[in-house]
Point group: C2
């Protein structure tokens, strides 16, 4: 269970004094290691080790009990067996300490007993407004404050790169990597079971304190060779509170990039996650849509995340997608051109002027177009000539430098020149020094000057591609105008009546099936009409002669089996189309009547089964529009190709509610069937504006009504109408 | 221009004596460096430096002229300006040397003048049967023979990993990487301009000498901790002779894995390739299909290639897809489960027995399912327990071990235990020791024991996925039965007549348009009928009354504009469907007649434009079947969704000709519309067997006829027939 309040985190991240409960003289114990880590990190506040027996630990005076402390510490760190933790937290809270880190394992992750203990912690946190990190976590570091509150080997070179990790082990790899790659870190937090403090608590803290990252700070960072950002990397197995998470992430993303590693695409990972942190996977495609909306970059893997972390820590995102490549190797340059395209980037065109400079200064065999091949025998000065020329070029937004170790290659000197020119021209530069030990010296120089370098160009280019994606997201955010849709008061009133009616039915036990109750097709149609959608004329037929009359009036008809118990009618032969004659109608009626009898026999006697007749919409294009409820992110609209194409094309496009008209148009335009909607190969365009209207109304209604799911499949879009032909409505478990 | 013969390569790869033409006393010159490299590499044959002035170079006696040499060297290496090369090659050939490496640049890659020089080399090679490597190459190495014939810094630890590289610079990175990663190399060749020796020449050599890789050698390799294979890595920008290349590659792939890095997916890379090596890109999707057929693994990037190289050098491919993960970190293990699924692998299920062993020996909080989480505080012995248990498990085909550097982690000891157990159980094991400098010692131990280790689990898993793909390819090859299709003599005769007729027409100037000539739709239909396909009844109409008669007889009809000049009829309104009444026919006829008049006015007077009427096939599913000619690989069959779905679904499936019935069935089954063909959601299956027959006949005919392209779009498949509705035929440039 997650706490329902947002604790303040200042004293958790930057405490003025710390107590370590469970401090130990035994150097192999966590309770000793954390005291050692605090001291070794150069923490300059008071440290109070608590131990009932010892008098000093690591040279510090110990206290037998929390109540004995001479002052109230800002932060308490607990390294005790799980069974003792609740009592200790009570004492800590009573003393007035508001921030607590709990290393102890043995809570929710080990079963119901542990979960009960954890709930007690949550209750205490709510009662005393405690910021509890963990339990079952590795703690956190804040290098700028010389603060290492972990029991791992941490890296305390301060920098601008922040992390929130739902895996302590990944943090140890991160610290080791950062130390080796000369990457400085900001506050890095491991979450553990996130009983109280979770990712959105921390994001909110960082959102609220974002103004403290002044433009002065950002300028200082740039002077140090860093980027303007304070990027945030996330490793999460679950997202505790999707909407809050997105809200803060989206705000932060305007200024500082957020990137995430989130497993759970495969069923294997979903099971493993459940065993690792008890996390249940939501729908991964909904997650993708949600992250995209909030400007969060989803990393493809751990390498991808570390590469991007370094790139964002050291380089600003490119202002455009146009990349120049300078290489002493033709093959890798050619491969890189493919990789640029894959990463959503382009080869920058070079002007005649730059071309002339290159022709004048490079050997005849060099490639003077982009990618620029300075040839295998290039010394540092030839690299300098080419790099200067392309960085000075207006059309170049970013540069990738590739180096292979030829016998004459000046690896170190070339690295220095790259660093110098990158600083001078202020455009993002990433490098690929390809090889083994021979190129390591170049990498080391580049690290010192905060130029990201990778052993393979594809890694540099992938990172650049992510950065550009984020940049386009930011640019788009600035120009987007949110125009909320207004539903007419008449429709609102109708919806209100329907909600009331549904509630009444619920209370009368009529829709009492749990956990989800489907409306029958006739009720669904009714609902769609009430929210203002155009539904083909239809009727429930009590007798064959009713159907005959309907056919005479409407020309072409469809017979449908109408039952809340039959959700997939076409699979069960419950739809007969193309009825244009009385004979055909009779035949269809007999088939359907037989099915009704069967169904009434199979299902319980109260099951409502009817035959529905509907006017057939001739021609047009079938699409699917629906709203579902995601357990993490709430209501989501889905749009795509309909009918049999649903299964064939995997053309599903998602967006969290609410959505404005522009977003709806973008969503429709992104689908694979859009070419057909707007008129394919000279065909007439279909009624797009009616379709947008249908989607807008459906979305609006789905937010206001107590429904878990509405799916219209198909919507048939003709030249002048968007017909809601067949709707399925599932009520929320009220 | 490529030589048209296959030179023998023994003396190129393992010469008993070598002359260096253009040897130099200047230590910065290529002509000196290569002599130095030969000596430093420990080459133990005779070396004859040729220099008109010097008496000794690097302590070796020099000769003024090739003719002066005391014996005929097996190999000549040329390091002279391009202008001198032809004369020198003539002298070398006259002396009787058969193998030549030319480092010199300034040939085809610099323009027409150079190309003319290169053609002279090719002519000499053909005249004297010379194996010329280059020009414009870095040479080759053969570490087993202590033979470094490059002017780069090479790595001469012998091993089993072979390479063919159309990039000298990539070779220098490869050598540096191999030295740093303790990877031994076999023969590695850089191709340069491949005037004579190209990738398929070398593959043929390796195919013909493959028996010399005895099972004894393979066993010795395994004793040394290597795999049983002698893998081949390729970097190619062009494939000189597609069919020959595939032929040898496919034969070799049965025993030894081949993997390739081939740029050219993007237009940027295609342009860059042309500038780098003058290579024109073929169709990349055809390339993909061709490589897959030959069992060649296509690498996604340079890192992917190097990772796979190391994995194949050190580990056999897994016998099955079931992978066990053992990790001291939950997060990376969870991510790895996702990556396994992406790589086409599965999480191995563990038996009750293994489960019990793990429960008995691991701490309570450990995950005792797969992925096995031995927890952050695991020492080497706990890793040992878990690894033994899973490697002993029958259901485990391969193991991935993940390690993060916790404070107590025994990195070196764990690496040693992994090496020991990998050897004992003989299953493929790959590792991810995640971090920076702290984990490097573990990697070093693993390298020594030839256990592939990567910094990130996704890299280990991707490599394993490639290996498993190759294993399935091999397994499939063994069971595949090729049943060639027989075309009836009647059809063969008809085809023969048609070929003759086309030739006659060509000679009469009737189809003389170059380079490609399209048959008009009526001729195309005729051709399809003659090769035994079922074409809907159709006729060319001279008058409206012809069309009327046709409609009366056939019930429903389509009017088409029939002209070889109009290839995309529907784009130009040249198809009117659904004609079922005389009135509708009149209306359609008038529209079409107007178009005919317009076309005759626009095009030259001789253009043949007619109105064609065809019986309309009602219902059924539209697909597309075609054969095109790829410049590299020749004739290729294409199958996929037809009609408007062609553009929407990108459902194209390719296979080089010829193909047998089983392959046809597999091809159809792999398409996205297969569910509709075999009967979707309870619908009746369509006439699949007729469709297979149509494809088989079309493929057979396309091989026998002088056609560049035949496309049938749509083929309409109904419940009992596969109708070739609309065919487009383009003749070869005869």
């Amino acid at each position: 269970m997650l706490a329902q309040f947002f604790p303040k985190l200042q004293t958790l991240f930057s405490p003025a004094s710390i107590a370590v409960v469970g401090a130990s003289r035994d150097e192999t114990k966590i309770g000793h290691i954390v005291v050692r880590n605090l001291l070794d990190g150069g923490y300059n506040g008071a440290i109070f080790p608590i131990n009932p027996v010892a008098t000093t630990i690591a040279g510090l005076t110990t206290y037998a009990d929390y109540h004995d402390l001479p002052k109230t510490p800002d932060l308490a760190i607990i390294a005790l067996p799980a069974a003792l933790v609740v009592e200790v937290v009570t004492a800590i809270a009573q003393k007035g300490t508001k921030s607590i880190i709990i290393f102890s394992a043995g809570f929710k992750e080990v079963g119901t007993e542990g979960a009960a203990l954890e709930e007690k912690l949550v209750a205490l946190a709510e009662e005393y407004q405690l910021a509890i990190l963990g339990p079952n976590c590795l703690g956190l570091i804040n290098p700028a404050a010389h603060f290492n509150a972990t029991f791992g080997k941490a890296h305390l070179t301060p920098g601008n790169l922040r992390f929130i990790l739902q895996s302590g082990a990944l943090a140890t790899s991160l610290f080791d990597w950062a130390a080796s790659a000369d990457v400085g870190l900001g506050t890095c937090v491991t979450l553990g079971n996130k009983a109280v403090v979770s990712e959105e608590t921390i994001l909110r803290q960082w959102y609220e304190t974002r103004k403290t990252i002044s433009s002065h700070t950002r300028r200082r960072q740039e002077k140090e060779g860093l980027s303007r950002y304070q990027p945030i990397g996330l490793y999460l197995e679950s997202i505790s509170n999707g909407r809050e998470f997105l809200r803060y992430a989206k705000e932060i993303s305007h200024d500082d990039p957020i990137f995430i590693l989130k497993p759970g695409k495969s069923s294997g990972a979903q099971k493993a996650m459940q065993s690792h942190t008890g996390s249940l996977a939501g729908n991964d495609t909904v997650l993708d849509a949600a992250l995209e909306q909030a400007g969060i970059i989803r990393c493809a893997g751990i390498e991808d995340m570390f590469d991007l972390a370094r790139s964002f820590a050291w380089e600003d995102a490119p202002a455009g997608p146009r990349v120049a490549l300078v290489s002493n190797a033709g093959g890798p340059a050619v491969m890189s051109a493919d990789m640029l395209a894959e990463a959503g980037l382009t080869l920058a065109p070079l002007s005649q002027k730059t071309h002339d400079i290159l022709v004048d200064h490079l050997p005849r065999a060099a490639a003077v177009v982009n990618p620029v091949d300075v040839l295998g025998d290039a010394l540092a000065d030839r690299y300098a000539t080419a790099i200067k020329a392309v960085l000075a070029e207006k059309t170049v937004d970013a540069l990738v430098v590739i180096l292979t170790p030829q016998l004459m290659t000046q690896i170190e000197a070339t690295a220095k020149i790259i660093a110098e020119l990158a600083k001078k021209y202020g455009k993002p530069v990433v490098c690929a020094f390809m090889g083994g030990n021979t190129v390591a010296i170049g990498e080391s120089v580049l690290n010192t000057h905060k130029i990201p370098s990778f052993r393979y160009p594809e890694r540099a280019i992938k990172a650049l591609g992510h950065m550009w994606w984020w940049q386009t997201w930011r640019q788009k955010q600035r120009t987007e105008k949110v125009k909320p849709i207004k539903i007419s008061t008449k429709i609102s009133a109708a919806i209100a009546r329907l909600v009331a009616e549904l509630e009444k039915q619920k209370q009368a036990g009529r829709v009492a099936l749990n956990p989800r109750v489907a409306l029958n097709p006739i009720e669904s149609n009714d609902l769609l009409k009430k929210i203002g959608l155009t539904v083909p004329p239809s009727a429930a037929c009590a007798s064959f002669s009713d159907a005959q009359k309907f056919l005479q009036k409407n020309g072409a008809a469809v017979l449908k089996l109408a039952s809340a118990q039959v959700l997939h009618k076409s699979d069960q032969g419950g739809i007969i189309t193309n009825i244009i004659s009385s004979d055909a109608l009779k035949k269809a009626w007999d088939v359907m009547a037989k099915k009704v009898t069967e169904l009434r026999r199979q299902k319980d006697a109260t099951a409502t089964v009817q035959i529905q007749i509907q006017k057939q919409i001739v021609g047009g294009l079938e699409i699917i529009v629906g709203v579902t409820t995601d357990p993490t992110f709430g209501k989501v609209l889905m749009f795509g190709a309909g009918g049999v194409m649903v299964e064939l094309m995997k053309d599903r496009h998602l967006h969290l509610l609410p959505l404005d008209r522009e977003t709806i148009e973008e969503l429709v335009a992104s689908s694979a069937i859009f070419p057909l909607l707007k008129g394919f190969r000279g065909a007439k365009p279909l009624a797009l504006s009616k379709l947008y209207d249908l989607i807008a109304r459906l979305a609006q209604a789905a937010e206001q009504l107590p429904v878990a799911e509405i799916e219209i499949n198909p919507v048939i879009v003709t030249a002048d109408e968007a017909w809601a032909v067949d709707g399925k409505v599932i009520l929320q478990n009220l």
